[in-house]
């Protein structure tokens, strides 16, 4: 029956989404099991089996699953909590400290108590070995094999589990690294090994050594986890295809993940941006801002045609130069705590009340005012219908926390203080959206805004008010959007080669050969992943800059342009992109251009779930009206009596006028005073600014055509 399951393992919950052709998607959540996350995966599958067919066996259900796509935070958590493998580094003599120095940055310049991050490899396990290549990759000193062997012997004595090899200028010639790797393999066959020129053959030593060390650091744990997962799933009866979510928004086979575990450092949230784009595409847009607000953090990303990537990401202050989705995270969630700084100004977060004790209104002992407390005071949450009524919230506790810590010191009524907390946290999130839009040269007003996560749709209208965004989408799967996105992701492999060359005197044959080499490598991987030639796509990007600039701009280049030696097309691409990003180009000065890196992205299409359409409903939404209550309307700066709807009873085509609240089990949608909404054919909510009914036209147009007489 074509069952596909997306599984997103988070810190608190493991989310599931099951799609089958011709049936509505099934959403499910179980508590995560951090010690071995695969336990929750298998337990959740068993529960899903019971939901699908109470009479059937879990084994029969598992056998019926065609594909499982899995996002994991194993690598992420190992890095954030510094619990990765005991690792060693083989590098060029004289530069073993680059990994720890991080180019000498202290991110908080005025904070003398701010300490450097603990290195991924301690200094006594970082070995510098004689042997040198120059900037063109020519050997100027042979590799000292005796010193190499001595270092490896030291690693063995120390019980090292993972080894990284990263030598100066290896992007230009991998020979020394390959020789070193061969000796490591021979002497330490059980150790996890990462070779920088294989993982990331591109210039910039610090970025490369950091990425290489990260790969080794998380390697053994991720390998163990994938092995456990594969064997547990097999034992449960699963015979289908398992795919792992990558940081770049694509998926990969478990084999690729095991060789390059650093590709999973953003695996958890990586499904979100693609899912957001999918929903925007349904309305005819090629772009989307996707946001996800949970208990402790808010994530924002942008897609234009595809989710956008960065090549200079960071995790826990370590650089990672593999392409990863440009997801900006800030400490703003339902648990974010409000406080007054020494100047008496209201701040929200980044400290969070977490799940335990949680916001004051949880009644679990928390006394500090959190964002959720403000939402309760503002009437956005029903104390008796939180998580569908599974948890009762205490309004008096919320009021008391806000009174004590915010309202009294500021001389404001509790309601005004709560409204202030709401506006400040929304402003923080709007700044987070600016990070991925305005700072990257995009105008957020031109994007549909997709709001996901339990706390997201409460704040989305106010965030959009700040950013002047006129259109929002709250997907039906809003609470499990990342898991949904995983089912929509294609196989994807990224390749890079450094090729420093002036555009005016380009060795086109060499460039074409590099592209061909990377395309062939990608095709080999897709072949192994059983993707037929017809389902493969290749995209070429050149990192270019004006000569003597230090930072490159990625320019999309058709393969045709390289075949036709079309330098003008490459130059035009750089001028255009530079102008978009930085407000000017040097086209008219005829400034010379150089290429630094050549990149190839290879994608293999996988089958996507087909969603079922609901029937069009002409009735007004009053049947779904649960009642009315007082809620704060930010546009009026006052409380109003607003209607409250049961979101599960609203149907395709029905419209709601703001201000209003739509309650669902996993999330509430707050329509503020300047917003209206319509339900689309998949049960998602499309919100548009009052007077902009035109933005909802695609929803109406998707109404089934009825033959007229």
């Amino acid at each position: 029956m074509g069952a596909r399951i997306g599984i997103d393992v988070g810190g608190t919950f493991t989310d599931f989404i099951l799609t089958r052709d011709g049936a509505p998607a099934l959403l499910h959540k179980v508590l995560s099991t951090p010690a071995d996350p695969s336990i929750a995966v298998v337990a959740g599958l068993a529960e899903l089996a019971a939901m699908v067919d109470p009479a059937g066996t879990a084994t029969a259900f598992a056998a019926s699953i065609e594909t499982i796509v899995h996002g994991t935070t194993v690598a992420t958590n190992a890095t954030l909590t510094h619990t990765g493998a005991k690792s060693a580094l083989l590098t060029t003599e004289g530069v073993r400290d680059a990994l720890e120095m991080r180019r000498g940055i202290r991110e908080e310049q005025y904070n003398n108590a701010y300490t450097n991050v603990k290195p991924l490899v301690p200094r006594h396990l970082r070995a510098g070995v004689k042997g040198r290549l120059d900037r063109a990759g020519r050997e100027i000193e042979p590799l000292d094999l005796a010193a190499l062997d001595a270092a490896i012997a030291g690693f063995r004595r120390e019980g090292v589990a993972a080894v990284s090899v990263c030598f100066m200028n290896s992007y230009a010639n991998p020979a020394h690294e390959q020789a070193a790797a061969a000796r490591v393999r021979a002497a330490m066959p059980d150790a996890f090994l990462t070779v920088s020129s294989t993982l990331l053959p591109s210039i910039r030593f610090y970025e490369r050594v950091s990425t290489t060390a990260l790969n080794s650091y998380v390697g053994p744990r991720l390998n163990r986890y994938v092995e456990q997962l594969v064997s547990r799933l097999a034992a449960a009866g699963f015979r289908g295809t398992l795919l792992i979510m990558q940081s770049n928004g694509g998926v990969m086979s478990p084999e690729v993940a095991r060789a390059s575990p650093a590709l999973t450092l953003l695996s958890g949230p990586a499904g979100g941006p693609g899912a957001g784009l999918f929903h925007a595409q349904a309305l005819g847009y090629d772009r989307a801002i996707t946001t996800d607000m949970g208990g402790t953090s808010f994530e924002a990303s942008v897609a234009v045609g595809a989710p956008l990537l960065v090549n200079d990401g960071e995790i826990a202050r370590h650089k990672i130069a593999l392409p990863m989705l440009d997801i900006h995270t800030i400490g703003a969630g339902g648990g974010s705590i409000g406080w007054l700084d020494a100047g008496g100004m209201l701040r929200m977060g980044p400290q969070s009340a977490g799940a335990d004790p949680g916001p004051a209104c949880y009644g679990k002992g928390g006394t500090l005012p959190a964002s959720t407390d403000a939402n309760l005071v503002l009437g956005y949450l029903d104390p008796d219908y939180f998580a569908g009524g599974r948890m009762r919230l205490s309004l008096p506790a919320a009021r008391e926390a806000i009174r004590t810590h915010i309202a009294q010191p500021m001389g404001l009524p509790v309601e005004d203080a709560a409204a202030g907390m709401f506006r400040v946290v929304c402003n923080n999130m709007a700044q987070g959206v600016r990070e991925v839009t305005i700072k990257r040269g995009w105008d957020p007003r031109e994007f549909p805004f997709v709001a996901a996560g339990g706390a997201g749709p409460i704040h989305a209208c106010q965030i959009c008010n700040e950013l002047e965004i006129p259109l929002q989408i709250v997907p039906r799967e809003s609470s499990v959007l990342c898991a949904m996105g995983m089912l929509l992701s294609d196989l994807r492999h990224d390749f890079v080669r450094t090729f420093v060359a002036p555009l005016a005197a380009l060795d086109w044959t060499r460039l074409a050969a590099l592209v061909d080499e990377m395309v062939a490598e990608g095709d080999r991987q897709l072949e192994a992943e059983r993707i037929p030639a017809g389902g493969r796509r290749h995209a070429i990007k050149l990192d270019c800059r004006y000569v003597k600039q230090y930072h490159e701009v990625g320019v999309d280049v058709p393969r045709e342009a390289i075949r036709a030696h079309d330098a003008a097309a490459i130059a035009a691409g750089l001028h255009r992109e530079h102008n978009r990003l930085y407000g000017y180009s040097l086209e008219h000065e005829g400034a010379p251009i150089e290429i630094i890196n050549v990149r190839v992205e290879v994608q293999g299409a996988v089958d996507k779930p087909r969603r079922q359409d609901e029937a069009w409903c002409d009735e007004d939404p009053s049947a779904a009206l649960k009642g009315r209550r007082d809620a704060y309307v930010p546009e009026d700066g006052a409380f109003r009596r607003v209607p409250v709807y049961d979101g599960h009873r609203l149907r395709f085509g029905q419209r709601i006028a703001g201000p209003a609240i739509v309650e669902q089990v996993t999330t509430s949608i707050v329509l503020t005073g300047t917003w209206d909404a319509i339900v689309d054919r998949h049960g998602s909510f499309v919100l548009y600014r009052k007077g902009r009914e035109d933005l909802a036209a695609p929803v109406v147009a998707s109404r089934p055509q009825v033959a007229t007489a």
Binding site: I105, T115, G343
Partner: protein
Amino acid sequence: MNIDPILLSVYARTFKAITDEMSISMQQTTRSPILCEAKDFVTGLYDADGRMLEQTENLPILAFSLAPVCKHVRSKFGDDIAPGDVFFHNDVFSLGNQNNDVAVFKPVFFEGRLVAWTAVKGHQADIGGAVAGGYNPNATEVWQEALRIPAVKVIDRGKLRQDVWDLIFANIRFDIVRHDMQAEIGACTIGERRFVELLGKYGRDHFEAHKEALFDATRRMMEAEIGKIPNGRYSGEGRVYYDGRHEGSQFTIRVDIDVEDRKIRFDYSRTDAQTNGFVNGTFTSSASATILTLLQMINPDIPHNEGMIEPVEIVIPEGTILNASYPKATTFGNHLCPPNADAIQRALAPALPDRVTAGWNNLLCSLTTGIDPGKNDKYVDIGFMGLKGGSGAMRGTDGYDHIGMIDASGGLLDQDYEMFEQQTPHLLLRHEYLTDSAGAGEWRGGLGVETLFRIGSDDTQLVTFGDGDFEPAFGLFGGGAGTLNFIRLTYPDGRTVVPRNKDLLTGVPRGTLYHQQAGGGGGYGDPQRRDRAKVREEVRDGVISARAARAAYGLDEG
């Protein structure tokens, strides 16, 4: 108008987002590694009167001269300020901090009225004068150092004044300076756009009223911080070695700090007189040094606007080494920050033992220029990676390793090694932590570094500027001193040359070995009280030798 206390936070956050965005634009589009790699620039937003609204201070020593110059531009041009104008300024005798730090100011208009200014100031790769790059240790007057740019309008109502533009760039050696000044203008334009959007949302009156409230809130915050310092007078000294002209010369910076309730006053009246060389400060570079040192002793979370500065009074008489009189040479002035900071840390140590640090490693820098034989093209390199030593320890925290001088505080980044070998003909042989460089202590100083590279160009010019080769970073409360800086060249014929700390060498041949040590920071507290596990770990890691562990820390094990 009623002040909305909530919107105050919104304004403060938005100002910061604007100056951050301007900073990113600068970093991504400039060409000189001083700007795009080392981030030696500052972006800022000021009100119509030139009062600071917010700044992004990648290199704080430049930061606190922008607001005074903005006020100067405002009063100099008076009514002659129009939408689309752009002003340049670097003149140290009209409140500039250093000749090479060239500022762009752009007025922001809203509904036909001047409401704000955006500004960027960056260290340009060249600014004319006798020596490429601007550091001329033989200079005695400003004209031997640089082209002076008093506040001048280069774009008039959106139209480039080509004659003025050409006059400026005809006096500057490198083309990239022209491009980098365009990048400064571009960043100002980005700030202008965002600011106009912000006012479009709230209106001018609303902004004006809330701006004042924001200054008040920040001033109260600053006053509360100053209130934590016991009232009294505190005095300290820092020393400067060699004025570039007189072998063995030495100067003293003396500060008397008066704290009275919620005000703090820094008085440098007892400081030594100005020198006859280029080792002189300007008022704004010296005041910036004072402010950035003070900011490191208080809550780092405070917004950087005019309200932060109001409770701070700084007195530096003209004619002292920290405030040279016209037309003295001053290019070294930014680098008087370390001894100035030393004086302040020493003065406040008894009053604020939890907030001061031991001494930071002072800067000793070199700049190499020549022709890259592989490319037959000019190169310039400032040896950022080599100059960054360790910071001083404070109570509870070891010094930060390889952070660099206090005026950058970790904002100045190393060149990437492979980019260094791409952009220069040099071959990097070593860049690693320097064993036993950190001052010992219950909390040790930050580690210094050792740098070796083989010079790859013939007839290379090498300029040195800095200090820290006579006096190491000092320890506090029983902590030990860090190590000294040095630079030593070994020519292919075996001859060794140790340049003075302000020097100009020419004709350095290809194949010369460049060797530099940047010292560690000072330690804090009795080394015998340091956690034994930490000492053992650092011996294992080789950043402390077994011998030093015994001698300084009393660790008996092998």
